[in-house]
Symmetry: C2
Subunit: 202 residues, 2 copies
DNA sequence: TAGTGTTGTAAGCACACGTTTACATACACC
DNA sequence: GGTGTATGTAAACGTGTGCTTACAACACTA
């Protein structure tokens, strides 16, 4: 393989997509302009329309790509005991730039589009359910209060992603994976550990 | 006191402020236009500039007002044991429209303005610190890991506010104060309860 | 009632937005 | 080399934005 082609639509498309993911996650959909994205990607504005149809189309592509990359880096099957660390790894790990936090941050910005909205809700919902299901024997039906607790755990992850993306905020922005894992593991066992009410140590 | 004046700048100002609080919290700063706000408040666009100087000024007024109203409805001095319920009350209580969730939702939307940005971060920071301080004897200095845990708790509150504002999402949107209090109390004692590492029951 | 400051309105300004168009250039193939 | 298509560029379009201006309607006091 020789020099990279000076004109390479695949590369340009990918560059636009990656830049858009970063900007949408950092600044939100409405606050990000297509010219911002194009300039930062070193491309022309018109190419966004060409490759993604519209700003909306670009955003949906970002959502899809982010969901894919988190599916990729996801630990195959985590037990309840490892869930806290798994979330912490998603937050602080090497893949954090294109991983869990990005999906979460993208997921909290309503795009205005009906279809993207439903996809967003479905994604969030299934996350919460899968985490809550770890507290049950495989295949057991998910009771409503555990579903709620799964969503509170999801809320924690979402909030941590938001706060970690806030520069100048205290320790949480600079916390290591281990430090996060400490706190998050406690939250996981408090929410999904056996027995209702205050956690009882086995 | 006689009939209300047909022209009442105080009333108009308040109307604009309340509408802005609702819209900024629901749609975010960038996605909300001053014409949206003025129309919904039944006022003229120019009055926003007159009363608040600019859209930015209006947003800062919203932040301040929201911080005030949560200070008002806040339980005077909560102990660590009551913190979970106190947060749940803030989330689900009668004041939820103008209470905790609103401050949190306003706090997660960067406005683009430097000064508002600092106020936002200061608000978040002090929340986390006050909550974390409940785990210590009065006046004791706040160690860094507890500070972090306070911020994770804040993250949970923020995430719950976001998810509760997401229509169509599962149980968390419709959960009662009691149901939320159950889960949140567990999170509080897991994060701030005595002793590091996994919670040990006294 | 005449005068005066306050409150509200309508129109417009300058600019940034998303998108489209018309055109230039690099590449692949003959 | 010559030709057709893929790729990239520059400029413009229409619209919506935040904000200002010029003016009208009201409330109040003398």
């Amino acid at each position: 393989m020789g020099e990279p082609r000076r004109r390479d639509s695949a590369r340009t498309r990918k560059l636009l997509l990656e830049t858009a993911r970063r900007r949408f996650a950092r600044d939100g959909y409405a606050a990000t302009t297509v010219r911002d994205i194009a300039d930062e990607a070193g491309a022309n504005v018109a190419l966004i329309s060409r490759y993604f149809g519209s700003k909306e189309g670009l955003f949906e592509a970002c959502l899809a790509a982010a969901a894919d990359s988190v599916r990729g880096t996801q630990d195959g099957d985590v037990a309840l005991e490892g869930l806290g660390r798994s979330i912490a790894r998603g937050m602080a790990g090497v893949s954090s730039a294109h991983g869990l936090p990005e999906v979460l941050l993208l997921s909290l910005r309503p795009s205005g589009d009906e279809q993207a909205e439903r996809a967003r809700i479905r994604t969030l919902s299934s996350y919460a359910e899968r985490m809550a299901a770890l507290a049950l024997p495989e295949g057991a039906p998910l009771p409503d209060d555990l579903h709620l607790r799964g969503q509170v755990l999801l809320a924690t992850a979402l909030g941590v992603a938001v706060l970690r993306a806030t520069p100048g905020l205290g320790p949480i922005t600079s916390a290591t994976e281990d430090q996060l894992a400490d706190a998050l593991s406690d939250v996981v066992s408090a929410l999904l550990g056996r027995g209702p009410g205050p956690l009882t140590q086995p």
